[in-house]
């Protein structure tokens, strides 16, 4: 097994990050073209805890190196199953995802947590990302090690791109939100003058 783990801080409030998170793979993110589609499978709020649970299916363009893709059956897309849990009282987003493609051969389990940063809880958000990568196929240890090594390298490249792309989404969300607020205020002013 190989473990990839990283932390990062975003200069945005937890509310902004947790909202922007739903837009992470939309058109504002130019850094993750390997994510082709994001579908919501189910969504519910637990009445006793208030936690929002969402199941999503993420479709990616295959990014494995050619030798590995051929070895594993040569598909052009891969599927990821993700469940997320948003606890609005604790201000915590937890996302767990696993690979559905090649799952007999390789297990990739990722956990991402977003919570308010300890240093500046109202303006900054901290990210913790951990992935556990295990080759399950029988046979040579050497082959298993190479598969895990390649996967962890791809994973860390994609994680870096994901962070960059998410920054773009957060910046755009803030801009759009500010514009909408301004528009509303302009509208209100107009209405007020009309009443005078």
């Amino acid at each position: 097994m190989k473990v990839f783990s990283t932390t990062n801080e975003f200069d945005y409030s937890w509310e902004e990050v947790s909202t922007g998170n739903w837009r992470k793979y939309g058109p504002w993110n130019e850094k993750t073209p390997h994510v082709i589609a994001v579908d919501t499978l189910s969504r519910s709020v637990d009445p006793s805890t208030g936690i929002l649970r969402t199941e999503r299916l993420i479709t990616c363009k295959q990014s494995a190196p050619k030798w590995l893709n051929t070895f594993l059956g040569g598909q052009d897309t891969s599927l990821v199953y993700e469940t997320s849990y948003v606890d609005p009282k604790a201000k915590k987003v937890t996302m767990c995802s696993m690979n559905m493609t090649w799952s007999e051969l390789l297990s990739v389990q990722e956990t991402v947590i977003y919570k308010p940063s300890i240093s500046a809880p109202n303006t900054k958000t901290q990210l913790e990302q951990t992935a556990r990568i295990t080759a399950l196929c029988g046979g040579w240890q050497k082959v298993k090690n190479s598969i895990e090594q390649v996967t962890v390298e791809r994973f860390s490249q994609n994680a870096a791109k994901g962070r960059e792309g998410f920054e773009m989404v957060l910046e755009m969300s803030r801009k759009v939100f500010a514009e909408q607020r301004e528009q509303r205020q302009r509208q209100l002013r107009k209405e007020n003058t009309a009443h005078m």
Binding site: W22, G26, D39, T40, S48, V86, P88
Partner: protein, 80 residues
């Protein structure tokens, strides 16, 4: 917003996604998420998506992933 894996569902998915996003930031995060006003749109989107998942044989893969995910559910649905 992102596309659906089934292009025929893109339209209704987009309408659902914007409804959800509005509900999430205006209601859910502010602690007044009593009713789910996006439910009718989700129903439409889901019936389109379920058909596509079945045709592609993905529905059984999802069932398996769900089984494997039970531990995560137990851990993260507890709340604070």
């Amino acid at each position: 917003m992102s596309a659906s894996l089934a292009p025929e569902c893109n339209d209704v998915k987009e309408r659902y996604d914007s409804c959800f996003l509005k509900w999430y930031s205006d209601k859910f995060l502010r602690g007044n998420a009593k009713e789910d006003e996006c439910a009718p749109l989700f129903k439409q989107y889901k019936s389109c998506l379920d058909k596509a998942l079945k045709e592609r044989g993905i529905d059984t893969m999802i069932q398996e992933a769900r089984e494997d995910n039970r531990e995560n559910d137990a851990e993260h649905m507890k709340g604070s």
